[in-house]
């Protein structure tokens, strides 16, 4: 007992005893905890001073939102996997935790719909298909980002570098911007260079040429199991997208600016009858082909041409492709008019948007900016095309990834599907009608008149 007393006394004389040290450390900790926010204000103040020098609140991966967690939902495509792999870099730099959940298309639709509709704020960043923009933005589910754009470092964001057509299609609604594009897609025409060389053919520029080339190749090569053309003609979204390439170039659209349906126009009838005329030169299973089957047909060398989205390109040039090294990709054919060719490639794509009910809107915007910078687009290049002029026209990338030049062309001369909330239902009716015509169950005029009537009902009610 006495020894201990002496020990502590001698410690007190010499300096801090262990107990004292612990006491002081705890006191210091408590005071920092209590006064922390006010101290932090100084910290942010100094950070702000630094930012004030570059003038931007967003874009420089500041630690302003450190400790927050973002819930991101993305569609199951290659680019989403790519960003998921790199997400830890964002967390390291900003201290914001990022949970990326990747879902297949229908699941994504349901999950996001439930979260935004029930206003849970469960998801901070949603992935919005361009055709859903009317629903998401129009119903007030997304937060407009106009103010955030103003506060973002322009050198990092380079908002004018995004192809305007893509921005309008994927991220704008009623003139307001609701996020940035992440995953873009456009229709292109793939063809077999070896077969084209063999018969001295050039890539078709017009729809008539496409028919001729398909016929020529089919007559000569179908005995070898190679069809002239393959496309996605199964009843569904893909058939509608395929049809729009032709429909748009012939000057048609689904409805006019007064929202009156125009499916009985000449362009409508001609375009679907054109697609039907291609069938004899396609592989037998074309009418049951969705995206995967059509890509598989071309990849296995069973067709000489493929009217397909640009994002199938990696499959065709990849390791286990049977047409590796024999594939080229070009813009979709069009209609010849006054010496020029009018093309309207169907485009689609996704917007990374901020949910209105999210509690981490600013951190979400910082992530979205980070995921779409010029540098990031270059790094994600192998996962598909981006939306920036600089990356799509970059000569180095164009050499490495064959689909870049054709996609760039597709975005320039493109057409988008309607993005109004009623479109999902209209698209289903249209798909059924087009499929009817393609399988000879109805004449084009009758089926399209029926579609027109249903469009009128849906657009009104």
């Amino acid at each position: 007992m006495n020894d201990e007393k002496r020990q502590s006394q001698s410690n007190a004389d010499n300096g801090l005893s262990r107990r004292d040290l612990i006491k002081r450390a705890v006191a210091a900790g408590i005071s920092i905890g209590a006064f922390g926010p006010s101290l932090a204000r100084f910290g942010i103040g100094t950070a702000k001073a630094a930012e004030a020098s570059s003038g931007a609140k967003f874009g420089n991966l500041a630690k302003s939102w450190s400790g927050k967690t973002l819930n991101v939902s993305l569609v199951a495509e290659a680019r989403s996997d790519g960003i998921k792999q790199l997400a830890h870099e964002f967390t390291e730099k900003t201290g914001v935790n990022v949970n990326i959940n990747i879902y297949p298309y229908p699941t994504l639709q349901e999950r996001q719909f439930t979260a935004v509709n029930q206003r849970t704020g469960n998801i901070d960043i949603v992935h919005v298909d361009c055709v859903w923009m009317g629903q998401y933005a129009g119903q007030g589910w997304l937060h407009p980002v106009t103010d955030y754009v103003k506060d973002t470092d322009p050198a990092v964001l380079s908002v004018d570098d995004f192809i305007p057509r893509v921005m309008d299609e994927q991220c704008r609604w009623d003139g307001t911007l609701y996020g940035l594009p992440f995953i873009t897609a456009g229709f292109t025409l793939y063809y077999r260079t070896d077969i084209f060389d063999k018969y001295g053919l050039k890539p078709p520029q017009t729809w008539d040429e496409l028919l001729q080339v398909a016929k020529t190749i089919h007559e000569k090569e179908s005995a070898n199991g190679v069809a002239g053309l393959t496309m996605m003609a199964k009843r569904g979204v893909q058939l509608v997208c395929t049809h729009l390439n032709v429909f748009g170039s012939m000057g048609g659209y689904y409805y006019d600016k007064d929202k009156k349906p125009t499916m009985t126009s000449d362009a409508a009838i001609k375009s679907i009858e054109y697609l039907r005329s291609l069938l004899p030169y396609c592989n037998q299973g074309t009418l049951a082909q969705d995206y995967d089957e059509a890509a598989a047909t071309f990849k296995q060398g069973r067709a000489a041409m493929n009217l397909q989205w640009q994002n199938a390109a990696p499959q065709f040039v990849g390791e286990n492709s049977q047409v590796k090294g024999k594939v080229a990709i070009t813009a979709v054919p069009g209609v010849s008019e006054n010496g020029t060719i009018k093309r309207t490639a169907t485009i689609g794509g996704w917007d990374m948007g901020i949910v209105e009910d999210s509690k981490n809107k600013e951190a979400a915007w910082e992530f979205i900016v980070w995921a779409t910078t010029k540098d990031m687009e270059k790094r994600l290049a192998k996962f598909g095309t981006g939306a920036r002029e600089s990356t799509l026209s970059d000569p180095q990338l164009s050499k490495t990834y064959i689909e870049y030049p054709a996609t760039y062309a597709a975005f320039k001369d493109s057409i988008g599907r309607p993005r109004i909330p009623q479109w999902v239902e209209m698209s289903d009716v249209l798909a059924a009608g087009l499929s009817n015509i393609m399988t000879d169950q109805n004449k084009a005029k009758d089926a399209l008149a029926d579609v027109n009537e249903k469009f009128a009902q849906t657009l009104q009610g």
């Binding site: 349901e110 719909f113 509709n117 206003r119 629903q135 119903q139 007030g140 589910w141 003609a233 199964k234 009843r235 569904g236 592989n283 037998q284 299973g285 074309t286 009418l287 049951a288 082909q289 969705d290 089957e293 047909t297 296995q300 069973r302 909330p421 999902v424 239902e425 289903d428 798909a431 059924a432 009608g433 499929s435 009817n436 393609m438 399988t439 000879d440 169950q441 109805n442």
Partner: protein, 313 residues
């Protein structure tokens, strides 16, 4: 030491009151305790959604708008069911599908059951093998059949072409699309019928058959006059269950054709799903579902009360 429970709990009651009250309640209400969880699950997952969707079918509710609420509409959506050409066509297609597939399943199931009944050795293996189609996940069944039906590289056309027959566009042609789905469905559910009929066969008393044989009856006569009448209730059960299940068919149709080509394979299950989960018209989808339910109930009543499947003798 055998001590009556009553005295034991009495002596402990004073010390730990709430816990032993609970224990006593659990002991004396075994039915509630055992059935309780099941009833809760039933209420939450079956009763509540059924009542909610019934209520929905009489309302107007724009799910997509952020500030929308229910507006009573009476029978508006049921009227729409009766006048929507696509819904009516969906009912027709479903009717054709059910007739074809259930009939085939009964016939094939009966044949298989009769064969299995004759088997003496290795019954375990054959019965497990027979059950495999039924145990496979329906979506997987759909995907594999989709590959097999592929007109260019599918297995079925491969075999046909090897026999110098033309390969058909199974899923892409309106003439064969419904048939293809029917084939996949029959493949998946015939084992169900077979197993039920086999059980009935095994339970059949042998004396009438032996007596008939002694009297000189041939196998077909025995089958027609003894076996078949005996099996009528079992066949009735199979028909009822398969029809009720087929009315709800969705997975095969969704995976194989998506309702195409055109609307040749758009059954009511698929159409209801589209209305509810693609177009978010939950009210109309609820009305469609209840209309389907009404039709099934009518059918079930006719089937049971017509006496068609009552056991004779």
């Amino acid at each position: 030491m055998a001590v009556p429970i009553g005295t034991l709990t009495n002596s402990v009651v004073r010390r730990r009151d709430p816990l032993s009250r609970l224990r006593k309640w659990l002991h004396s209400n075994p039915a509630t305790v055992m059935l309780g969880p099941a009833i809760v699950v039933l209420l939450v997952f079956t009763i509540f959604p059924s009542i909610y969707s019934l209520a929905l079918s009489f309302q107007d509710w724009n799910m997509q708008a952020r500030n929308s609420h229910w507006v009573f509409q009476g029978l508006k959506y049921y009227q729409r069911v009766l006048t929507d050409p696509r819904a009516l066509q969906a009912f027709c297609v479903t009717g054709i599908f059910i007739t074809g597939s259930v009939l085939s399943e009964i016939v094939f199931g009966l044949l298989i059951a009769l064969l299995l009944d004759q088997q003496r050795r290795g019954t375990g293996i054959t019965r497990t093998a027979i059950l495999l189609p039924m145990m496979t996940t329906p979506v997987v069944v759909g995907l594999i059949w989709r590959l097999m039906f592929n007109a260019d590289i599918g297995w079925i056309n491969f075999v046909l072409r090897a026999l110098h027959l033309p390969g058909l566009d199974w899923l892409g042609s309106p003439h064969t699309a419904l048939l293809s789905i029917g084939i996949a469905d029959v493949w998946e559910w015939t084992p169900f019928v077979a197993i039920i009929l086999l059980a009935a066969l095994k339970a059949m008393p042998m004396e009438p058959t032996e007596a008939a044989r002694v009297d000189g009856a041939g196998p077909f006569q025995i089958f027609r006059l003894l076996v078949l009448p005996y099996l009528r209730p079992a066949i009735g059960v199979c028909v009822l269950l398969r029809v009720i299940d087929s009315v709800k068919s969705f997975d095969l149709f969704y995976v194989l054709t998506g309702g195409g080509p055109g609307t040749a394979t758009e059954v009511i299950g698929l159409y209801t799903y589209k209305q509810g989960f693609n177009f978010f018209k939950l009210n109309y989808a609820a009305a469609l579902s209840y209309s389907t339910l009404i039709l099934v109930v009518i059918f079930a009543n006719i089937a049971i009360f017509s006496g068609l499947f009552r056991q004779t003798r």
